[in-house]
């Protein structure tokens, strides 16, 4: 008997989530009180802490989910538990060093990866351990679910294995690509460097989304009665999403004077998301019906709420991917709303669903009445706060865009947005409280050593 390494990752992930939201709240209050901690704990330290810890939350939770799920799917242990433990410790130590470096003001100064480039090396090495572990573990794995007309079984991976495989490989590639700026050829060229940076980032976000969405499908399949992971339609949506996430990055940089065909390609690819949106809306009635059936399941509730956020964020994403609209929304809080809606509404809801599934599967009885009350209230508080938070960001983005076009000075725009920022900070705070209410029972389950289990 030994504690699952997957759950150790998850524990760390939950701690990162709480810390990320805590720093996020301080940052939000600095919007309305500009002098708050300005010299002792300034925004340029708070923001990277918030962003890096949120990214850590997403990675730790999804990697933990994969380490936990793989042995169950394949019904055999991981290729190397030792390698996974090394991965965990390298991640943890690097994370601590990154936090300390931010606190002391040592930065690499790039968006997302604000830490010194030297700290990317252990991350790359530990990710390489994951690649070895993942691909060696699934080596020889095949399922024979899909049969063609002749009754011959096709050798297919369930779609979530595909998603994890592509997510793991492409994160490795795009993370390295994000450091091309270290080469003078790129460094000495402003437009070239920006384009390459956002090309890598667009795909990089796509890669971690693959890990998260793979977990969503895995949990969805386990909590419902439908074998969705091997349906041809699920595969087509996966490939559509995959192409989108890897090629649709240029909607981030329409504004940069790069080649026209890059903009056109990004625009065309982004519009294919309409197909995904149409499919989700088409299925919505069925999802609601299923929802009623499985409402007793905690993971299913979180997945249902992520579905709501997928629709709202996808609508915004499609609208702001139209270049003629993007030129007005780019650089405003509408982009922040899109980012927050995706990381909290979609990714966090999915990851919490997967953690609830990992911790107790569908056994509601694992939680006391008080814990259940706390979780359900936390769930509603989080979603309502996020809705207010998100709407405020969209509204402040519209206002900022309007005033920018009117040539209003930046400081005046910030003053006119003050009331929006108050709502934004307060809803951010209540969002943190909601998440704490959800996470506390999970942490106590994980730390009470109730989860000692077989890697089998």
């Amino acid at each position: 008997m030994r504690k699952s390494i997957g759950l150790s990752f998850v524990y760390l992930a939950l701690v990162s989530l709480l810390a990320a939201l805590f720093f996020g709240c301080i940052g939000a209050f600095q919007y309305i009180m500009p002098e708050l901690l300005r010299d002792s704990f300034p925004f340029y330290k708070i923001r990277p802490l918030h962003v890096s810890l949120i990214v850590a939350w997403i990675f730790l939770a999804s990697v933990g989910g994969i380490y936990h799920a793989l042995p169950r799917i394949l019904q055999k242990p991981l290729y190397s538990n030792k390698l996974a433990i090394w991965h965990y410790w390298i991640f943890l130590i690097t994370g601590v060093v990154i936090i300390i470096s931010y606190l002391f003001g040592y930065f690499g100064g790039r968006e997302y990866w604000a830490f010194s480039p030297i700290l990317a090396i252990p991350i790359i090495i530990s990710w390489f351990f994951l690649i070895i572990n993942f691909f060696t573990t699934i080596k020889g794995y095949r399922i024979e679910l899909c049969e063609d007309k002749n009754g011959t079984s096709k050798l297919v991976w369930p779609v979530y294995i595909w998603m994890w495989a592509t997510g793991i490989i492409f994160f490795f590639l795009t993370f390295i690509e994000a450091y091309l700026w270290l080469i003078p050829y790129f460094r000495e060229n402003i437009i070239g460097e920006l384009t390459v940076q956002w090309k890598a980032y667009g795909s990089l976000v796509g890669s971690w989304n693959m890990l998260v969405y793979g977990l969503a499908i895995y949990v969805m399949e386990k909590t419902s009665d439908t074998r969705i992971s091997s349906m041809p339609l699920t595969y087509s949506l996966f490939f559509l999403g995959f192409i989108n996430l890897l090629l649709g990055w240029s909607h981030h940089i329409y504004i940069i004077p790069a080649a026209k065909w890059i903009r056109l390609l990004g625009y065309a690819i982004s519009m294919t998301e309409l197909i995904v949106l149409a499919k989700i809306i088409w299925d919505w009635k069925g999802i609601l019906k299923q929802g009623k059936k499985h409402i007793h399941s905690i993971p299913y509730r979180f997945l249902l709420s992520s579905d709501f956020w997928i629709i709202t964020n996808l609508i915004v994403a499609i609208i702001i991917s139209i270049p003629a609209i993007n030129i007005y929304t780019h650089g405003t809080h509408i982009t922040v709303a899109h980012a927050m809606g995706s990381t909290i509404g979609i990714n966090t809801m999915i990851l919490l669903a997967s953690i609830f599934y990992m911790v107790s599967e569908n056994r509601k009885e694992d939680y006391s009445e008080t814990e259940l009350k706390l979780i359900y209230r936390g769930f509603w508080l989080t979603n309502i706060s996020l809705a207010i938070f998100w709407t405020t960001l969209i509204a402040s983005g519209v206002v900022k865009s309007y005033y920018t076009l009117e040539d209003m000075p930046f400081q005046q725009i910030m003053n006119s947005l003050h009331s929006y920022f108050i709502v934004f900070a307060i809803s951010g705070m209540s969002l943190l409280i909601g998440i704490v209410m959800i996470v506390i029972p999970l942490l106590s389950k994980l730390s009470a050593n109730q989860l000692a289990e077989n890697e089998q």
Partner: protein, 139 residues
């Protein structure tokens, strides 16, 4: 043996990604604007910009943080002296970083290089009926 198929597909996708990335780099590094390399001092300015994590508050071409203003065209719109005053003293929101003369000079050089590369926010664009944008030709 049968297992090899998904791995083959994966390898093909990776290869396609490399080819596609190379095409992108080749394109973006050779556009008219991109061909203009920046001075060593401006490169040094980029280092200073990153060292103090300026992107967490400011934006370049609308990319970055939101608590401070976009800096793409600060030099042409506000002037060097304006930029220098903020760099040396900070503001209500911005701490004073106690930058030395070389750092200030390098940052201003970098801002000049960014300024000459294009404009933001976009104002001089033609919009096509299908929603794409194209920078207006200068008359």
């Amino acid at each position: 043996m049968k297992m090899i198929l998904p791995i083959k597909i994966l390898l093909f996708i990776i290869l396609a990604y490399f080819v596609y990335s190379f095409a992108i780099y080749n394109q973006v590094m050779h556009t008219e604007v991109a061909r203009k390399s920046i001075s060593p001092l401006a490169v040094k300015g980029k280092d200073v910009f990153q060292k103090f994590n300026c992107i967490s508050c400011h934006q370049i071409y609308g990319l970055g943080g939101y608590i401070g203003p976009d800096l793409t065209n600060t030099i042409s719109e506000k002037g060097e002296a304006y930029a220098e005053a903020f760099l040396r003293n900070g503001s209500l929101r911005m701490p004073n970083f106690n930058l030395n003369d070389t750092q200030v000079e390098a940052l201003i050089e970098m801002l000049k290089a960014v300024d000459s590369s294009g404009s933001f926010p976009a104002k001089d664009f033609d919009v096509s009926w299908y929603g794409t944008i194209q920078k207006k030709e200068k008359e």
